[in-house]
Structure formats: structure tokens, C-alpha cells
Symmetry: C2
Subunit: 468 residues, 2 copies
């Protein structure tokens, strides 16, 4: 459950506060072809979608959320802005689930087997959405209504791609925190962990130094061999103490991932991912570490935040459950959604490289293309294709597209992979100061920085212009 | 060898006249993936392409012909305008062969077997071209050079689709006689044979009446049962006389197809398809029929033109070789290319319906969706999908595209399926008075009507504007 785009769930307290803006959903199922591009394949599956007509007056547009790597229910609950916008536009709201996630499994529990998983691709997923929308427009007697696609992170990329590839179906798109340039074949993959580091640097100049110090203390204990293991195990409250020096790298990945989660979910109000995070978790973590006399222990306490929250109930941690190594250097969890994501990271979704301790504050944990190729061959018997997405999904040559907003927050470590400058008057980049990962897609909150409020207003104005 | 887009080959005499404008090609082969959309499939095949650098100065653009349903060699020889344009632009010329045609067979001679043929789709073919171009731009050290896609008929549709789906690769497109609106799910399929009829009507008002009279005479003989068969067989110079009344419908299809060929190839100079056609074959045929005292015999002589030419060497005809019934109501021939085309006509390429003797001059030979479905299920075990191409290839909702010329001649029976009105200043429709099927793509000819000369000039001006 630990995607590269972390679903920093709104915490219960916040949900109670904004509950009025998130309507109840109805569930629909659509018979979707497993393979849109091969007519000899006639197998089909049930694609799930959620919808609500409560704001719709039969005349307004359709607001479509392009589901990404997880159950569509999570996106419904965490994309409050879509409903706030729908209310203003009297829009019909539809959330489409991405194939191979949630319950939209083409071959049920066998979906992840060799021979079945191959139908998981961005192109098939986009075709699903296009075909689904074509039919739903008919079903809702809305064939002449404009569709606006919304999405955050990978979902934001899909929203933009829908407008790229199916502009006949989708009139405009809001691609929030969508690092589409990351999939250009000319992109270097080394931007991510330096950006995570910068978040901590910006919160407190001394913070990265303290973090590095904590890792050095781990390194020093590692040099002591087995003797140092109990000290580390105790500091990190491990349920099962380390038994070998070789395990330390995994622990480091677990720590690094905690910092990644805090950077992505660095919202100005409490949220919850694996555990309830405080408001501004990056500042919070920096304070915890700087206040610790032993920096390794500070590191442990800060990492615990991501996995256990401020008032966490876990008595101890199990990094082998909480952080599963996979093709995504920010780790995977367990379960179907994570299998699907791992496969995508092994095929079309070329994710960032690892850490080097030079341009980032983390120990050297490389994730080179060679390492990825070896892992993907072993795990899925597939070979990533570097050039394909640059060709298929336009790389950085997107100027012929139109009616797309690319929003990015300056706290979001995915930001460097995004479209940060407007390409034309209808390919508009919006930068959100004080914004973490797709903050603008979340429901309005009293603690929102002014920039995100302004961004949402600009987004609504552009959408209104483009669909009128 | 009888595609719906008839390759009305330039006759030898004409080729000699214009031979200077068609350079010799070099042949290349590119290792192409059989399935671009499924990473579990790693099989590859050799895609053929032709190219010439003789006009290229290393600075000019790339002119790419999007190969359609046949060997790429035929397109190279019959698209002289591409070379005339390349000379003016100092362009690199590349002609890409369409998968499953010519020698670009993904599974060799087994390509047309069940389980192998399914990788034949427009989406896969477009991906082939996009991937091929991406690599060739690198190979020719031309990554910053604009690509212009050219094509006629189905190849023109592919040229437009390339700009729709891969505008990062293709800057502008000339889609000559490309009936892209035909693949919208809202299109009726009944435009084709009325348009063929209109061509004959426009050439000579009495012509359709004479044709109808010829068919009535066949019908009267048919009513006589077996007694009438020798009369028909003799009139049509059949190598094997008819043995059953049931065969007459096939003969009618063969005749109807001859009229289709003449309408599509109604050029102002001699060309050759199955046989050397005279200049303006529609006028020629009308004269032949009106000059015959027996209209059935006139019909026979006119039909013979298409299959045997003006000075034909055939002593007799075999309609079962010259016209093979298939999913395309204008018939197929034999051989691999025709198998591939039949499969495409059974999947994404929903071709026109048949004739009804009310809106056209031909006997009632229906080709309904039900008939097509039954045929396709029996022949290929596939089911056409009416809505898919309207979704995938944008139907009639193309306004977000740019830099495409849609040219159509008023003599071309495919014209009603084309884009006949400009959609915007960069989606430009050009109508060519006196133009048959993609006349503008052919080499300049002293007998060209002024409209096609003007059209070519406008096309070059638009291309120059769009790639500058």
C-alpha cells in the first residue's frame, strides 16, 4: 500500500469537517474488453466506476476522475475539489477505476499471472476510460456534454493523456502533480531524492545535516558488525531484531521511504497515510530530530511518524511488512494493487533512480537501469522500454495539445518531473507555493495556503472558459 | 489485388514521361515489436521501409508516406507528388510499409492464421510508424527535423491519424482522399455506390439509365433459368460458362466492381490497375454502352475495360478470379494483401453497404451489418466493433487537431466519407474539381485539371507554413 504517489488520506477529523463536500457514491460496472487493440481477443471484465448525480442538472458537464494505482474508493474520498467544482458547474461526477486495481481485475485473482498481466498498460487503461465515457455519455443522455478529466499524480498524467489521445471525448483536463516529463526518454531520473532533501532543507537548514548524522551513526554501528545490530534494532523499535548486517540496507530504505512520505504529504493540516500524520510533517520531523541528542534515535522517531503517526498504536515496527522492495525505489507494499504497480514500474513507468549521498541526504542506495532491468526480468519476465513512452505519450513535445492545466506544488518532490512552465495559453502551468503532492485536488481547508486557493480559482476559470 | 482503394497504377507510358520525378529507392528493415501494447509479448518482425536521400540536404524535413494496404513498392511508384515536393523542400523521403502487407509479415506465411492475425490493427500500425520514425530520425541525425506524413485513401487516413495520435512525431499531414468520417459511429454506410452512380451520371446523363437497362437484360435472362445462362456467358466472354442461376449475383458483383474501378480511376490520362485504362474511363465506358444496341453487351464491353483494358490480351474473363467476395463490398482479390484487407474490413474498417437499385444504378446486392457480422464470424471468428473507431480515431470530432490537409476530388466516390469543409485554419479541406481518387498525390501531368495543380500548390504552401 505504499505507492510512489502516496495517498495521504485525509484524516478522520478533517473528513468530519468537510464531509458535506463529499457526496455518497453509486457504484456501476461496465463490461470492458481486456484487449482493445486485438479483435481476436474477445475476453471482457467488469470495470468499476463510481458516480454521483446530486449536483447534475442534466445540462452541466461531466467531471471524470481518471483513476490511478489503487482502489477508486480512495480517490473518491480524497479528491474533494472535484466535488466542490462539480457543485459550481452542476456537473455529473464519474470516477473510473484503473484496470488491475481495486476490483477491476481482468482475470480476477489470476490477473497477476504471466500471460494475464500483460494487458496492464497505459494505452489499454486510456482506452478503457475513453470507451467507458463514450457509453456513459449515451446512458446519461449527455452525448453533447463536455467531459473534463481530473487526476492527481499518475491519475493526473492519465487525465492529460486522455486529452492527448482522446480529445474527441475529453474537452479539458486538470493534471495535478503529474510528472509527465518523467516519461520522456530524454529525462534523467535523478531528480526525486534531491527534491525530498530540499523539502527538509527548506523547512530547517540544519535538518539534512542532522539526518545525515543519524545515518552516519547507523553506518558506524554497521561497521561493528553483529555487535551493533541490537543497538540499531532497539533504537528503531524493531519487532524482530536485526540478525544480519545485510539487513541494514533494507532498514535504510524503510527510513528513506518515511521521509519520502512526509515530503509528499507535507500538508498544512493533519492527514493519514499509514498512520495519522501531523500538520506540516516535514517541519515536525525536523524538530524531532534536532531535539534529539542522539541523531539516530531522532531519525527513528521521525521515521516512526510515517508508519505510526503522532499517537500511534504500534508498539514496534516491521520494516519488511511496512516497506517491500520493488521496481519502485520508494517501495511497494503487499496485495494486488502493489503487484500491479510493480509491473507498471517494470514496463512503461520508468521511476526515479536511487540515492547517492551526494545530491541527497540519504545513504547510497542506487537503483540503476541495469538493476531495474535485472529485477524486472526476474520478477515479471519483462523488459522496460525506455523510448516507448517518449514516443507514445509525447515526451516533452506536447505543444500541439490544448486545454490542460498542469499544477505543481513547490513542496512536492515529484514537481521536477512536471510541466512547470506554460506551453501555450491552453497548456497552462500553475505553481502552488506551499503545496505538497496535488494539494489542489483535496477539499478546501481553513489551513490552506493562499496559493492553493488562488490555484483552484484559476483552474475553475480555465475549465469554464474551455468548456463554454 | 482489388482493394477498396484501387491503386490505379500509372501506366508504363506515363511512367516513362515522369520517370525523372521518381527516384530509385533504397530498402531498409526495422525490427518492430509485434505488440506495442503488451510488454509480455516480446516477439518482433522486420518492417520494410523505402527511402531516398537524393533530395535531402541534411537540413530539410522528412516526408513520410504512411503505407496502406499493399506492398510499399506500389505506393512508391504511384505517389509522384511526394517526390516533387521533396525536391522543393530538400526533404528526406521515407515510405513505411504497413504491417501484414508486402513483406512486413509479423509471422511470415503464418501471419494470417488465427492467433496471429489479431495483431493487425490501425493502432498497432500507427505505433509501428511512430516507433520507426523515432528511430530513423536518430539514425539520420535528424531528431530536430519536422516530419510530414503523406498518404492516399487508407494511407491518407493513417497520415491524419499519425498527426492525431503522435503529433510529437509528425508535424503536419496531407491526407488525400481519406474518408476518415466513414469510421465515425454515426456515419451511414450508404454513400458509396450512389457516388459511383453520380460519376457516370455527371459524365453522361443517359449513362445510368443505359447501365440499368443492361442489368435488366441480365435479369430477364435470369428469369428464363438455365436457358438464359449461355446468352449471358457469351455476352460477358466468360472462360467457364455459367452453370447455375445462383452464379449470376457474383457476375453482377464483378460488373459493379468494374464500374467502381473506373469511377475511382477516372483520371485525365491513361492509368493501369488490372489492365490499362484509357484516360477518363467513365466517359469512355458511357460511350461504349450508349453505342451498343444491346445494353447488356455494352455493359460487358465496359466491364471488360476494367479487367482487360483497351487493348487487352485476355480472350475471356473469369469473375471468380478477378473478383473475390469478401468483407469489402467492392471485393477482394487473392493473396496475402487481400487476406489482411479482408481482416481489417472485418474489424476496424467498417466499409460501405451494398447496392439497392434505388439510390444507385446497380442491381440489389445488399451488404448489411448483419451479413458482415455473419461473414466475419465465419471467416475470421471476429466481431466488428461499430463504436470503437469512432472513439479511438475521433469520429467526426476532430477540431482539436491541427496541421492537416484533407483533399478530395469531386469524381472520387469515397469523397462523401471525407472531410469536405475546413474545420479550422489548420484543418484545411481542399476540393479538387475534376479529381478522382487522390489525384493530387500522383505526379504532375500535362493533362491535369487546373484544380489539382492549384491544390498541390496550396498543399505545399500550407506544409511550408506549418513546418517553418
Amino acid at each position: 500500500m505504499n505507492f510512489w504517489f502516496v495517498l495521504c488520506f485525509v484524516s478522520i477529523a478533517v473528513i468530519l469537517e468537510v464531509v458535506e463536500s463529499i457526496p455518497k457514491y453509486k457504484v456501476g460496472h461496465f463490461e470492458q474488453l481486456v484487449d482493445h487493440f486485438n479483435f481476436e481477443e474477445s475476453a471482457s471484465f467488469q470495470q468499476r466506476y463510481l458516480f454521483s448525480e446530486i449536483y447534475w442538472d442534466g445540462k452541466g458537464p461531466i467531471f471524470f476522475y481518471s483513476g490511478n494505482e489503487g482502489s477508486i474508493l480512495g480517490f473518491w474520498e480524497n479528491s474533494g475539489f472535484v466535488f466542490e467544482a462539480a457543485q459550481k458547474f452542476n456537473a455529473l461526477v464519474i470516477f473510473g477505476e484503473h484496470r488491475y486495481y481495486g476490483t477491476s481485475l481482468p482475470f480476477g485473482q489470476d490477473s497477476f499471472k504471466h500471460g494475464n498481466i500483460g494487458y496492464l498498460s497505459i494505452e489499454q487503461a486510456l482506452a478503457d476510460f475513453a470507451v467507458l465515457l463514450t457509453q456513459l455519455k449515451k446512458d446519461f443522455n449527455a452525448t453533447d456534454k463536455a467531459v473534463v478529466s481530473f487526476g492527481g499524480s499518475y491519475g493526473g498524467m492519465l487525465s492529460a493523456y486522455l486529452r492527448f489521445k482522446y480529445p474527441n471525448i475529453v474537452r479539458a483536463a486538470l493534471a495535478a502533480s503529474a510528472p509527465i516529463y518523467m516519461l520522456a526518454d530524454t529525462t534523467t531520473r535523478d531528480f526525486f531524492f534531491p527534491a525530498v532533501t530540499k523539502d527538509f532543507q527548506d523547512a530547517d537548514k540544519t535538518c539534512p545535516g542532522n539526518v545525515v548524522q543519524g545515518f552516519i551513526e547507523i553506518e558506524n554501528l554497521k561497521k561493528q558488525g553483529e555487535k551493533g545490530l541490537p543497538v540499531i534494532s532497539e533504537a528503531f523499535k524493531l519487532c524482530k531484531p536485526l540478525t544480519s548486517v545485510d539487513q541494514i540496507n533494507h532498514l535504510i530504505g524503510w527510513i528513506r521511504n518515511a521521509f519520502t512520505i512526509m515530503a509528499m504529504c507535507d500538508y498544512p493540516y493533519p492527514t493519514s497515510f499509514l498512520a495519522p500524520l501531523p500538520a506540516n510533517p516535514v517541519n515536525y520531523a525536523c524538530k524531532v530530530i534536532s531535539g534529539s541528542s542522539n541523531k539516530m534515535e531522532g531519525l527513528a522517531e521521525a521515521a516512526g511518524l510515517a508508519y505510526n503517526g503522532t499517537g500511534g498504536k504500534l508498539k514496534c515496527f516491521d520494516p519488511w511488512i511496512e516497506f517491500v522492495e520493488c521496481a519502485d525505489p520508494t517501495g511497494c507494499g503487499t496485495g494486488n494493487d502493489n503487484l500491479a504497480w510493480d509491473y507498471q514500474a517494470c514496463t512503461e513507468f520508468l521511476l526515479p533512480s536511487g540515492t547517492n549521498n551526494v545530491t541527497d541526504m540519504f545513504p547510497e542506495l542506487p537503483w540503476t537501469l541495469d538493476m531495474r532491468n535485472e529485477y524486472c526480468n526476474k520478477t515479471w519476465n519483462v523488459k522496460p522500454r525506455l523510448q516507448w513512452t517518449g514516443t507514445s505519450l509525447w515526451g516533452k513535445n506536447i505543444s500541439s495539445a490544448s486545454n490542460i492545466i498542469f499544477s505543481n506544488g513547490d513542496l512536492d518532490p515529484w514537481r521536477p518531473g512536471g510541466v512547470l512552465e506554460s506551453v501555450s495559453s491552453s497548456l497552462v502551468a500553475i505553481l502552488i507555493k506551499g503545496g505538497a503532492h496535488h494539494l489542489d485536488l483535496r477539499p478546501s481547508n481553513p489551513n490552506d495556503p493562499p496559493d492553493v486557493t488562488a490555484a483552484r480559482e484559476q483552474e475553475l476559470a480555465l475549465i469554464r472558459k474551455w468548456i463554454s
